[in-house]
Symmetry: C2
Subunit: 307 residues, 2 copies
């Protein structure tokens, strides 16, 4: 990547990127593909850091696009082709089943002066699909490990990524300048960077993120099935129930594709989880206080790891 002007369509543009240096980001035109929780939070963070001259939104729903404009998340909306044409940095944050064809489409449109980044929760299928793309080096596969149960541009949060990890996958397949720019943006947003291949990422993500969502969805279904008095749930719910069931409010359109793409790892950890629940069941059926206590004492070890 260099600073030489580049002919894209009718226009001549100069890449604002220099390896390891974010100074040029103030002149960057950024497109966010998808105007939701992650892209919206990312756009807000870019603006707060002075990292974008203009932010363009590409979205399927007029309502979301309109909302994103009202919230000042994007400056204007555009069709994908027009947006990519004038952008230095394209950030794709849409459901993972749509991410694969979308990133391929974007990369068919870009030159070696542009950077394409995704923010999806699965990485193996995506990295494999892109491995032979002629512009592969312009793409950086990332997973900022942050989210909430909410979706849409109105769910975007200022300071969202602060203190969280961002996984960058298959770094060696990306252009070194592109990687350094992406790393430094995420670091400027308060994240620490973890490097993995797509295969390992998906295993760790199944353990640390995807299973939590499954258990929370299943807990909500359990309580809705057993507790026929919805008033009782509303009246009695304390902080404990609210925190364990919070993720059950998450958007199925986002999570179903994640579980399907990471099916084998999710099934593997789900089987383990059912087996762990059966241990609690056995300890109660046998009224084995010692075993029950041991199971909980083992779970307490998570205190060592999470503050």
């Amino acid at each position: 990547m260099n600073l030489v002007g580049l002919k894209v369509g009718e226009e001549t543009r100069t890449s604002p990127f220099t390896a390891g240096d974010l100074a040029g980001m103030k002149d960057a035109v950024v497109t966010i593909v998808g105007v939701g929780l992650i892209s919206g939070s990312f756009a807000i963070a870019l603006r707060d850091k002075g990292f974008a001259k203009k932010i363009i939104g590409v979205g399927r729903s007029d309502g979301s696009i309109q909302k994103a404009k009202e919230l000042g998340i994007i400056d204007e909306a555009m069709a994908l082709e027009d947006a990519v044409k004038q952008s230095d940095f394209i950030y794709v944050a849409i459901p993972v089943d749509a991410t694969v064809p979308m990133v391929q489409k974007v990369m068919d449109l870009v030159s070696d002066q542009q950077i394409v980044v995704d923010a999806g929760s699965t990485k193996n299928v995506l990295c494999a699909a892109l491995s032979t793309h002629p512009m592969r080096k312009q793409f950086v596969a990332t997973h900022p490990m942050w989210g909430t149960e909410n979706s849409g541009p109105e769910a975007a949060v200022r300071g969202a990524f602060e203190g969280r990890a961002c996984v960058i996958c298959e770094k060696a397949s990306s252009d070194a300048t592109a990687v350094s720019i992406v790393e430094n943006i995420y670091k400027a947003l308060g994240m620490h960077i973890v490097y993995m291949d797509g295969y390992s990422h998906d295993i760790h993500a199944a353990y640390i993120s995807h299973i939590s969502h499954i258990t929370s969805f299943a807990l909500a279904n359990t309580v809705l099935e057993k507790e026929k008095e919805e008033d009782a749930i509303f009246e009695l719910a304390g902080g404990g129930f609210e925190s364990t069931v919070r993720l059950a409010k998450s958007n199925p359109a986002m999570w179903a594709p994640i579980f399907m793409q990471n099916r084998e790892n999710v099934l593997d950890v789900l089987n383990e989880h059912i087996s762990q629940l059966r241990k609690f069941k056995a300890s109660l059926e046998k009224e084995n206080l010692q075993y029950l206590t041991e199971l909980m004492e083992n779970a307490n070890k998570i205190k060592r790891i999470l503050k």
Copy 2:
């Protein structure tokens, strides 16, 4: 209950309580039995409201008692008998297996000028055990639906009960003045009161509180079993994992007796939960996106109930 002076041991005391009126609470001597999360938070709230002339702590551990004094939660520590003798209001918040004999012991010591309250997470066994006690009317069975994963006096939280429910069980078995005093204290602390018998309480508590703890303990064990790289948990954990696994940090000495006392209800809801997880498993095994989506959409109904 009336305001006539009462001979207790060597001393003459006058009850500060008048039906529905908390004015006398400023003169009340209060004993908390157990100096931990709940009793500590309760004591702080009493002080903030000016509801106690003196707060005495009864605890098994010198360390906790000392800490509670340092934190200003209690004014002094005393042996149970001495504390009860000079107290108008005795609040028992200890593990539920110890609660039954402790409340019985306290009630053997009290007159009809004193109020005894417990704060345990199970109610059926306790209410049954006390039903024939000659001083039953002086006891009010309560369950403030609040808690955190932390324990000990240093875990006590100012404003803890605000906005939460407090269940009062088998109200008709308690003296009307005692109930009105207890209700009004909890209301002054920002709680809303829900009335139930002990049997119903334990069913609802299994659904809305106890199963959340089991799933969280089991989730921690699942992740600890699968994720052999503890660094990865530490580095990658986002807000979702942290919130679903938070309760796994809870104290086994508190929770094992709850699960054992409420064994049948907990097993019932645990069986349902395993069955709900199996539905997710089946949808993934069959790659049935529609079924998977339906399961999540059903879980989303919890949004209707919890804000």
